[in-house]
């Protein structure tokens, strides 16, 4: 198998951005009929390698050889024509177009000299059905949550007859079931002889699907391995570049040292709800505790967070903070009351791409202090640098636009934004999305240490194991309704799913 | 007459100047006095709006249509519609270019070329200095009828005397602010300016301020010839800062209503009816000022 002709080969790729060398002498081989995982920490250069390969960014030096012929792609269009189909990190589709169009734009079916909408929609439905999604494909993409958008992006890539399929963190906002479905499809494609390049930060997924692994570290080629020859620990060590203690990846006893629920909750929501969004819900969040929100996609976790943070206005119920009734009608008010909210859709709701890292970090703190209590720039820089160090954000300096950071590092900056406000309660909606193993650990550590300092945390994640790991209590949601509460220490995934399934019956 | 009131649809150019405002006021009050039901429409200086207004007058079946053409060209189509609907048309201010004279009954108003000529003649007759006469010209809005025609008339006359030369000409858009701004630049670029010819009083008033700021005496160091005869010009003349203004009379309301009635009655009229207009040099300003209405 190894001696088979590689369909795609990259050699000696160099790429530098102003101030950073993103890729140094990187190579990659892709064989037909295999799934190749590209691994590396945040900022290792995975996405850059893909962009360079697909003509989004130009190469400084190096060769790309496709089916034995050297190519120098200049545009995505060109690359598509060559039979390479790509899903980029973050959803890169047009929110205003319908789902069907997003899948087929550029390759519309025509009939009588005009686009055949009917055929297109039915083909789109078929394409999505393969991923087990049944949605109205005539609605604009923006009416669906990120997860669906990600599936649509995948469906788009799958719908082309490509020989090479590249997926950059396609699973970052999918839950396990959807991932499984995606993998089924990938296996089918693999059997057809298609070469698949796959980026993920989930080791489980890597081992579940990939045959071969290329590891990048700090923009450099670390090595290429067969998946079966490389153990998890080895892989992590190669990515991180140092020995990591295996025990830190297991759930630890004592994580949930019983913190007594003494006294008043920090925030108590009583019958909080909004018609069409969330059935009235009772929640209490205690200082020094993590409240996990469990549930499946679309179960209403994000909606709960939005109501708590005043982004959407509840039309029933009430909220008390430290026993005092408050009316949370805007994020501004919430921020002033010591709440913080790290949204799930980093690109459109979180980062302000053109502003510098420093400005992004300082934003919420400054908003909390108001216009005239200005933090002098030197102080701002100090705070920014402090968090860059503390969270290990990989950047040359704090004045770089955040848009130029790798996805995971952007997420860390958002965390820094909220930690800088020294909140009393922190709502994290999918904070670990797109974050590498090591960093994920750090973030979980951070959640725990912050928690120990008396912060109240609401934690939302599609990865149930993560929720279970950090949560002291888990509120389980289903169909925009709270169906029960579990104790974090004594539950496992099985019990959560049982609860969800149980109330269904 | 026991029959219903006469309706007269009038499409005005706009309200771009004091002159125009006075013109509108005169027409409105005269209509009221004459017991004519006036449908007034303001075109905001756009020909297409005037055409639309005329169409809507036709749709409303008014008795007589009147309008002050923004430009002289481009009226045939809509006027043919009016003719087909048997509605007579009178023009004010200026005439239109058309091969078919039957499209309108008559034109009442001033003659811009004639105003330019009057200004030119006054200058030739009254300029006292010796040697070459350097004239700067403040034009109205580029392409507008008064600007083109006043310039034409003026140049036509001063051509007669080779001493008189227009050394600079620039548009001041008929406004005080632009007039001042342009004059400022002229004064810096040209050390010897003897005469200013301005296409309207407003620009002249602006220019006077610029001349004063440059330390010269308007009306003496630089002779100022202007057109319109608005109140402000009379004030400037009384202060000795402007030499002459050629009147362009906007108060033709009463005369217009008269004509409307005659048109309705089917009386024959000449194709052109001129309004009474004068020329007011500085000396007559104080006497005239109290009787100025606009």
């Amino acid at each position: 198998m190894t001696e088979q002709q590689a369909i795609l080969q990259m050699q000696g790729i160099h790429k530098r951005f102003p101030g950073v060398v993103a890729l140094k002498n990187v190579g990659l081989r892709l064989f037909p009929g295999e799934v190749h995982a590209l691994m590396g920490q945040n900022g290792a250069g995975k996405s850059t390698l893909i962009k360079v390969l697909t003509g989004v960014e130009s190469i400084d030096s190096g060769d790309i050889i496709l089916s034995g012929k050297p190519i120098r792609p200049h545009s995505v269009f060109e690359v598509q024509e060559l039979g390479i189909s790509t899903v980029y990190q973050e959803v890169n589709l047009c929110p205003n177009l319908s789902v069907a169009e997003n899948i087929f734009i550029g390759r519309f079916p025509f009939r009588f000299g005009r686009i055949d909408w009917k055929t297109m929609q039915s083909k789109a439905r078929t394409g999505l059905a393969a991923l087990n999604i049944d949605i109205d494909v005539s609605l604009p993409l923006s009416s669906y949550p990120v997860a669906i958008q990600q599936m649509v992006a995948i469906a788009r890539a799958l719908s082309t007859e490509a020989q090479v399929l590249i997926l950059d963190e396609p699973t970052s906002s999918l839950d396990e079931d959807e991932v499984e479905r995606l993998f089924d499809v990938l296996r089918r494609l693999k059997a057809k002889g298609i070469a698949i390049l796959f980026v993920t930060h989930f080791l489980d997924q890597t081992y579940a699907i990939s045959d071969r692994i290329t590891v990048l570290r700090n923009g450099e080629f670390e090595g290429e391995y067969l998946a079966k020859d490389l153990s998890r620990m080895q892989l992590i060590n190669k990515m991180v570049g140092r020995e990591v203690d295996e025990s830190s990846f297991a759930r630890q006893a004592g994580d949930h040292a019983d913190k007594a629920q003494t006294g008043e909750p920090f925030l108590a929501a009583n019958h909080l709800g909004r018609a069409g969004m969330l059935r009235p819900i009772d929640l209490s969040v205690y200082s020094g505790q993590v409240l996990g929100l469990g549930g499946l996609l679309g179960s209403g976790r994000t909606e709960t967070a939005h109501l708590l943070f005043g982004i959407d206005h509840p039309d029933s119920g009430s909220t008390k903070i430290n026993g005092i009734p408050v009316k949370l009608n805007s994020p501004r008010k919430a921020v002033r009351l010591g709440l913080a909210f790290c949204p799930e859709d980093r690109k459109t709701e979180g980062i302000i791409a053109e502003l510098s890292i420093r400005e992004n970090i300082i934003l919420a703190l400054q908003a909390r202090r108001g216009i005239f209590h200005f933090i002098p720039v030197s102080k701002q820089r100090q705070i920014a640098e402090e968090y860059i160090r503390q969270l290990g954000i990989k950047t040359s300096d704090a004045e770089k636009p955040i848009g130029q950071l790798s996805g995971g590092n952007q997420q860390k900056v958002l965390l820094a934004r909220w930690l800088a406000t020294e909140p009393k309660m922190l709502i994290l909606d999918e904070p670990t999305r797109g974050i590498d193993v090591a960093a994920k650990l750090e973030i979980m550590e951070l959640v725990k240490t912050q928690c120990c300092k008396g912060l109240a945390i609401v934690f939302i994640s599609s990865e149930m194991s993560e929720v279970l790991r950090v949560s002291d209590r888990i509120a389980v949601l289903r169909d925009r309704e709270k169906i029960g509460e579990l104790d974090g220490a004594s539950s496992d995934e099985q019990s959560v799913f049982c609860m969800i399934a149980g109330s269904e019956a | 007459a026991a029959d219903k009131k006469l309706t007269f649809g009038f499409a005005q150019v706009g309200a771009e100047s004091e002159w125009r405002t006075a013109n509108t006021a005169s027409i409105k009050s005269a209509a009221k006095e004459a017991g004519i039901d006036l449908k007034f429409s303001d075109a905001q200086q756009k020909q297409e709006n005037q055409i639309k207004a005329i169409r809507s007058f036709i749709a409303q079946k008014v008795d007589v249509i009147g309008f002050a053409p923004v430009v002289t060209t481009g009226w045939d189509t809509v006027l043919k519609e009016a003719k087909a609907a048997k509605i007579p048309v009178v023009l004010t201010d200026r005439s239109i270019e058309t091969k078919d004279d039957s499209l309108y009954v008559t034109t009442i108003g001033s003659d811009f070329t004639e105003e330019g000529r009057k200004a030119g003649h006054w200058l030739l007759d009254n300029y006292k200095g010796q040697g070459d006469v350097n004239i700067v010209e403040l034009q109205g809005t580029v392409g507008s009828a008064p600007a083109i025609e006043r310039q034409k008339g003026f140049l036509e006359v001063i051509k007669a005397d080779p001493r008189f030369k227009v050394i600079r000409s620039q548009t001041g858009d008929f406004t005080r602010a632009k007039g001042k701004e342009v004059m400022e630049a002229f004064l810096k670029a040209e050390p010897n300016i003897n005469v200013l010819f301005s296409h309207n009083d407003d620009m002249a008033i602006g220019a006077i301020q610029a001349i004063e700021a440059a330390g010269k005496k308007p009306g003496k160091d630089i002779i100022i010839v202007s057109v319109d005869g608005v109140k402000g010009a009379f004030e400037a003349m009384m202060a000795g800062k402007m030499n002459v203004t050629v009147e362009c009379n906007p108060l033709l309301g009463a005369q217009l209503m008269d004509i409307v009635k005659q048109v309705k009655a089917g009386k024959p009229l000449p194709k052109r009816i001129n309004t009474k207009e004068g020329i007011f040099p500085m000396e007559s300003a104080a006497k005239e000022f109290p009787s100025r209405k606009y």
């Binding site: 130009s58 545009s75 995505v76 269009f77 982004i311 805007s330 994020p331 501004r332 919430a334 921020v335 002033r336 909210f341 949204p343 459109t348 709701e349 980062i351 302000i352 791409a353 053109e354 502003l355 400005e359 300082i362 934003l363 919420a364 400054q366 908003a367 909390r368 216009i371 005239f372 933090i375 | 706009g14 309200a15 771009e16 100047s17 004091e18 405002t21 509108t24 006021a25 580029v142 000409s169 620039q170 548009t171 858009d173 008929f174 406004t175 005080r176 602010a177 701004e181 400022e184 630049a185 002229f186 810096k188 670029a189 008033i205 602006g206 700021a213 440059a214 330390g215 402000g232 004030e235």
Partner: protein
């Protein structure tokens, strides 16, 4: 190293453009840089340009902020006219002749009139802001409403007349000189300093950029985007009002129909020439001032070169294109790097 930094400064190319234009002026009119002292005031072409550019500079400052929030305000010209009308009507338009002696009567005290005019201008701005931030209309259409109706309001106030002001002290604003320089320049300077303070020594600048670049993220971070946008438009109204005062004072009269005509275009052009993107976000106040100066220098050049009025616009167009080409990074990189990439890149 120093030189290179200055080369990459965002104001470098606007400045170069301005200098080039001035040199063009000088080439055709050698007196361009001459400045003499007359009646204790500086007198010369450069002073004229600065003085004339003052209203435009004021408006561009306000416009810069609006544009930074990803908005646009096409009603500034109308606001200029309204403010001018209010102040003119309040200060007075009566010339009384008693026994052959002319005397001027101010209807209201000047400070009151000025405050009223600025108040009305603020209201105009807030009205725009309310439509944009409150009702959620698109900025161009929200301000178009005032652009159309505003001139009507101005004419309503002046009853369609050009209201002449006969009150000496008021003329100082637009005609007066202080320490040899036109007073209007000090107004510009004051507004600029206030704005620089607000945007650099308070977090206003950061908030405006955040709202302009990503309103959702800004809101989620606890910035009340609505209030901010409301006040930014309000402020833009005030700067237009001040410009209205300067213009009115300068020509000693208010013309509801013509004051500030097409000023919105010039102001937007100034902002864009100064290097601020019309898509919102990063902005440069100084850049906008330079932009305004570029426009005024160009206008002045057209007047003093003796360009025939028929081709004014052609000249203006060519200069605008040239200026943009000079400022186009893309063109420079195409000229100075051998590989020309015309293909699609972002």
């Amino acid at each position: 190293m120093r030189l290179k930094n200055c080369f990459h400064h965002h104001l470098f190319w606007p400045c170069i453009t301005l200098v080039l234009l001035c040199l063009t002026n000088f080439f055709f009119n050698h007196g361009f840089f001459d400045i003499e002292v007359r009646n204790g005031a500086l007198y010369g072409s450069v002073i004229d340009v600065l003085n004339r550019a003052a209203p435009l500079m004021l408006v561009s400052l306000g416009m810069t902020l609006v544009i930074a929030t990803r908005g646009i305000d096409v009603s500034v010209g109308a606001t200029v006219a309204i403010a001018g009308a209010v102040v003119a009507v309040m200060i007075g338009g009566t010339l009384v002749i008693k026994d052959g002696v002319q005397s001027y009567v101010a209807n209201f005290p000047m400070p009151l009139a000025i405050i009223a005019a600025l108040g009305v201008a603020l209201l105009c701005g807030l009205w725009n802001g309310a439509l944009v931030a409150g009702a959620g209309m698109q900025p161009i259409i929200a301000t178009l409403i005032l652009m159309v109706a505003g001139r009507g309001v101005a004419q309503l106030i002046t009853e369609g007349q050009i209201v002449t002001i006969y009150y000496e002290p008021f003329f100082f604003i637009g005609n007066g000189f202080l320490f040899g320089l036109p007073f209007a320049l000090y107004i510009v300077l004051a507004v600029l300093l206030i704005l620089l303070y607000l945007t650099q020594r308070t977090s206003l600048g950061l908030f405006i950029q955040a709202v302009g670049l990503n309103p959702t993220a800004a809101r989620f971070s606890g910035i009340s985007a609505r209030a901010l946008v409301l006040w930014v438009y309000g402020f833009c109204g005030v700067t237009a009002g001040v410009a209205g005062l300067v213009i009115t004072s300068n020509v000693k009269s208010a013309d509801g129909n013509n004051a500030g005509l097409a000023m919105e275009l010039d102001a937007i052009l100034a902002v864009a020439l100064g290097g601020t993107s019309l898509d919102g976000g990063r902005f440069s106040l100084i850049g906008s001032l330079i932009g305004a100066l570029i426009i005024q220098t160009l206008t002045y050049a057209i007047y003093s070169l003796g360009v025939p009025p028929e081709i004014n616009l052609v000249v203006k167009a060519l200069v605008v294109f040239t200026v943009c080409l000079i400022q186009s990074e893309r063109l420079r990189s195409m000229l100075f790097t051998p590989a020309i990439h015309l293909e699609e890149k972002s």
